[in-house]
Amino acid sequence: MTGARHRVVVTGLGVVTSIGTGVDAFAAGLRAGRSGAKPITAFDTTGFAYSNACEITDFDPEAWITEQSPDDLGRAAQFAVAASRMAVADAGLTEEQVRGVRSLVSVGTTDGESRDLDHLTGLQVTSGDDVLDAVVARRVWPGRLSAGIVRELGLEDVETVTVPTACAAGNYAVGYGYDAISSGDVEMALCGGADALCRKTFTGFYRLGTIAPDVCRPFDADRQGILTGEGAGILLMESLESALARGARIYAEVLGYGLSCDASHPVAPDRDSIARCITAAHRNAGIEAADVDFISAHGTGTKANDVTEVGAIRQVFGDELPRTVSIKSMIGHTMGAASALASAACALALRDGFIPPTVNHRTTDPECAVDCVPNEAVAADLKVVQNNGLAFGGNNAVLVLGRWDTAPVPTVA
């Protein structure tokens, strides 16, 4: 159905995470295997038997948000705006240059501004149903996550969309940017995901018995679940021609992506459907499974996810599994930001030649036996990496990135 398309590259990264804000701090954190786990301060945790999360405690919205009042944005949108500013600067672009081309802004999220909705609910409970904080009430709609970026950067020739496809949303948003650029619809895209810690989501996972009491240990025999996290990851993407013409530093090429839906269960992952998604991504990217040098797994660290996900990987890759890591061991499950931040990590890995570790690891579970690069990053000559994102609603999205100078030219689109 499609003809030759533009190649798409990542030239700027903006990240806000519990192990570092800004691409250099994040990269250093990934290499060092830093952990963002700590007791929650975002809300009162009295009554929970345990309450660690990967919270960001040093974020200063006013350092990044200057063209609008930070109060007009919830915490998730603030993260998204900050990460976008960083991505533009990291790409060596001025905001004026971004304003000068047709662009797409797509931001994935799980919870939008649910932290604000928690606050409004708390007010109703303590002060009465009619009590409302109007400033907060105006900023709760998820469209603000992307609209806030557009406003901050003063973009006009732009398509602005929020993609609330839960915990795989970052990959959906990046994949959308890939299609928009490769088809020639837009020249640049700021894509990724953002979420803020909130009581609602911590409580839900706690009730499901999927919050780890101490730390997140993906693929470990003793893994006990996730730690919730927060942050934002934004990728600045552009066509290869555009990047080459302006002499941009290229992190990675986006080779393609695949989507699938389990259509079976609201929260339990489905092995066959994930395998189908991986295969679709490989086909879209024009690669074979054997080309993949490492997998950045969804890797939440729950019993069910890790077994099912590795089973799906095995279904596609056979017995020769590439190294499979989870950066959630370091930054927690950042929900809609998760696969965007993992994409950023993959891009850094490709540029700098290393594989980020899976920290907190003791003994690999034979039921999900992978080389998860335990505890310490390793140097590696990488050409192609795969980034998995899985979500509630059976929403799977797998992204494939390649080192741009050696990336195979896609033969199918």
Partner: protein, 87 residues
């Protein structure tokens, strides 16, 4: 230690059966004390956690997640709830 735990009365057992049938979308006569939630009534892990959560709210008890492995049928649930109430 199980010998000292008082059994649930009929009302309590009835309450539990109602909860289970509601969550598993079953009629009361479709489930017996020994019919298995997962194998015979299509229950998945989310449904069993729903049952656990609902029991905690209804009886004001605290159940460990590990008790899920015993809550495979009504008889198992009765035993787990009886123990929790006795604590």
């Amino acid at each position: 230690m199980t010998t000292q735990i008082p059994a649930l009365d009929e009302t309590e057992q009835g309450q539990i059966k109602d909860i289970v049938c509601d969550i598993l979308e079953l009629e009361l006569d479709e489930v017996t004390d020994t019919s298995l939630f997962k194998e015979e009534h299509d229950a998945d892990s989310l449904r069993t956690i729903e049952i656990l959560a609902s029991l905690e709210r209804t009886f004001g008890i605290t159940l460990k997640q590990s008790e899920l492995s015993r809550m495979v049928n009504l008889a198992g649930v009765y035993a787990v709830v009886a123990e929790a109430k006795a604590q």
